[in-house]
């Protein structure tokens, strides 16, 4: 039961992270934002740093829900302007720079094994309470995204996504319009990083690598672009399928089980274009 709660919490955290990526970055702005893992990792590492070095008490750890959004907003704003001229594969490649930079910086600050023994704030110290808290965040997130989808601003973003030239000719300031969404997605990712650190009691640089992010990205495409259901499916597959597969393989292949799981995901990436280019619940094809 404990394991199930732990996995469910992890799944919910990843689902929110993927909603931030799918519904905001990919769905509204058509940005292949694998760099979102940087914000997630930033959230985890700030949590680890504060928890390990500042020695603040359990109640004050809630301050992380203020500190992380501020830090992540600043980083995302810098990244937004730095990457503004790049689109699609170049944006993705530019994001790789940031992932690598983040990986190196994390290793310099926290060492190659990262942080461990992270404490949880009072109120969400048990696994069950953390799960409940995560589910509440998920519901808030879904309601917000649904409302946003129905809003006029969303239509504006659809125009910008489909043709920036058309949007520009209408006098829409693309940068100004995209910044709030970009930062919102980053903040959501950063907060999930905090939750992830609380959930796993640690922040390991090896978890926030390009390969993992690409796998998540591929699962999103499998789930379907610009759909909440797609993010839910991707999050569930990432946590439960990975765990089940590694458990099933570990008796036979022992230490190689995680590598074989990665190979399975790699093959999935290769075959996705053949089996379902639009994904399970996708609103449109990958552009």
């Amino acid at each position: 039961m404990d394991l199930l709660i732990y996995l469910a919490t992890k799944a919910v955290i990843f689902i929110i992270f993927l909603i931030a990526l799918n519904s905001l970055m990919l769905g509204k702005m058509n940005l292949w934002a694998i760099g979102n893992i940087v914000y997630f990792s930033l959230g985890s590492f700030i949590t680890g740093f504060v928890s390990n070095n500042w020695g603040i008490n359990d109640n004050r750890l809630y301050l992380l829900f203020l500190i992380v959004p501020v830090a992540v907003s600043i980083v995302s704003l810098i990244f937004f302007y730095a990457s503004r001229v790049f689109k699609q594969d170049f944006f993705l490649f530019f994001s790789l720079f940031f992932i690598e930079l983040n990986f190196v910086a994390n290793k310099m600050v926290a060492g190659s094994s990262g942080y461990s023994h992270i404490i949880r704030p009072s109120g969400i110290q048990s696994d069950l309470s953390l799960l409940v808290f995560s589910v509440i965040l998920l519901i808030i997130c879904i309601v917000w995204i649904n409302n946003f989808d129905k809003s006029r601003v969303n239509k504006l973003h659809s125009v910008m996504r489909d043709s920036e030239i058309l949007a520009f000719s209408w006098g829409i300031n693309i940068n100004k319009s995209q910044i709030p969404l970009f930062i919102a997605s980053a903040i959501l990712s950063g907060l999930m990083g905090v939750m992830f650190a609380f959930c796993t009691y640690g922040a390991d640089p090896k978890l926030f690598t390009t390969n993992n992010m690409i796998i998540l990205f591929a699962l999103l495409i499998l789930g379907g672009i610009d759909s909440i259901q797609g993010a839910v499916v991707a999050g569930l597959i990432f946590v439960f399928f990975t765990y089940s597969l590694e458990s099933a393989l570990s008796s036979t292949f022992q230490i190689h089980a995680p590598k074989i799981t990665q190979i399975v995901f790699g093959i999935l990436l290769i075959v996705i274009p053949f089996i379902m280019p639009k994904g399970l619940f996708g609103k449109r094809n990958f552009q």
Binding site: A218, I267, P273
Partner: protein, 282 residues
């Protein structure tokens, strides 16, 4: 000391420059970043080191290059070409998928730990240079000259340039596009093979070494301008020297950090590259 650092940086830069030629070629023809290019290089490196256990150096180099060529050919023929037919937009993810598969298969076969060249390298006479160091620059020069001759003076080179310039028009004019793709991949496979040999001799291999090389090599292409194959060699050498100098001043991690920051800054200021035309979609 300074001479030693600059020397190390220069040779590593030559290696980065050589890898970036393969990237630039594939990018110009396919219009995608082939993330598996450096993984093929790592495969060749492993083939070279493994072959040394039963054969001599010359045969091992031939085997490594052959592995690079075969692997590049198979990647294009079996995977990329098929994906292009279904959804070319997803080709980028396919290259990532291939990269993940290669890395993990290598990690299972050879383990995650560093695999080093099994012999002690000897310097040539009293020059303080190893054979691989003496060879890398001439090899890079030969590759560049061959590429120049091939692209500018041969019929297949003209077809490649036509395809790069306007793929659709080249198709309508009867340029055998698939054949062109194969030729480009075979050439990039040769480069990957030679790069793998150099990397395994000088620095050792892990299944995941390719990623970092990819970051530096492709950024050399970007900064030089994607249509400028020779410029990427120069930028590659500058990157190598910068890594080496920062490593001397601080440490390896800081060297990577500062070089990455430098590259990001340059790309921020000159997103089209220093010598390049506005080729990418921006």
């Amino acid at each position: 000391m300074i001479y030693e650092i600059l020397k190390l940086g220069f040779f590593y830069g030559c290696f980065i420059g050589m890898v970036s030629i393969g990237f630039a070629l594939i990018y110009n023809i396919l219009h995608i970043v082939d993330f598996a290019h450096t993984d093929r290089l790592i495969v060749s490196g492993y083939v070279f080191v493994s072959a040394l256990t039963f054969t001599n150096h010359f045969a091992a180099v031939i085997l490594a290059v052959a592995a690079g060529v075969i692997f590049a050919f198979l990647s294009e023929w079996l995977i990329y070409r098929q994906v292009r037919k279904y959804n070319p937009k997803l080709l980028l993810l396919t290259t990532f998928g291939l990269s993940i598969v290669i890395q993990n298969v290598l990690a299972i076969i050879f383990s995650d730990s560093l695999k080093e060249y099994p012999f002690v390298e000897q310097t040539v006479l009293q020059s303080n240079l190893y054979i691989r160091e003496l060879l890398i620059f001439p090899v890079l020069l030969i590759i560049s000259l061959l590429l120049y001759y091939w692209l500018k003076k041969t019929k297949s080179g003209l077809s490649i340039r036509a395809s790069i310039s306007n793929l659709e028009r080249a198709k309508t004019l009867g340029v055998p596009i698939n054949k062109i793709y194969i030729i480009v991949f075979v050439f990039s496979g040769i480069i990957a093979g030679l790069g793998g040999v150099y990397l395994s001799m000088g620095y050792g291999l892990t299944p995941y070494s390719g990623f970092k090389i990819m970051i530096f090599a492709f950024s050399a292409c970007l900064i030089a301008g994607l249509n400028n194959v020779y410029g990427s060699v120069i930028i590659g050498i500058i990157i190598g020297i910068s890594l080496s100098v920062f490593e001397m001043l601080f440490n390896a991690l800081s060297a990577e950090l500062f070089t990455l920051l430098g590259l990001i800054t340059i790309l921020f200021i000159k997103p089209h590259g220093i010598f390049g035309e506005k080729l990418r979609i921006i």
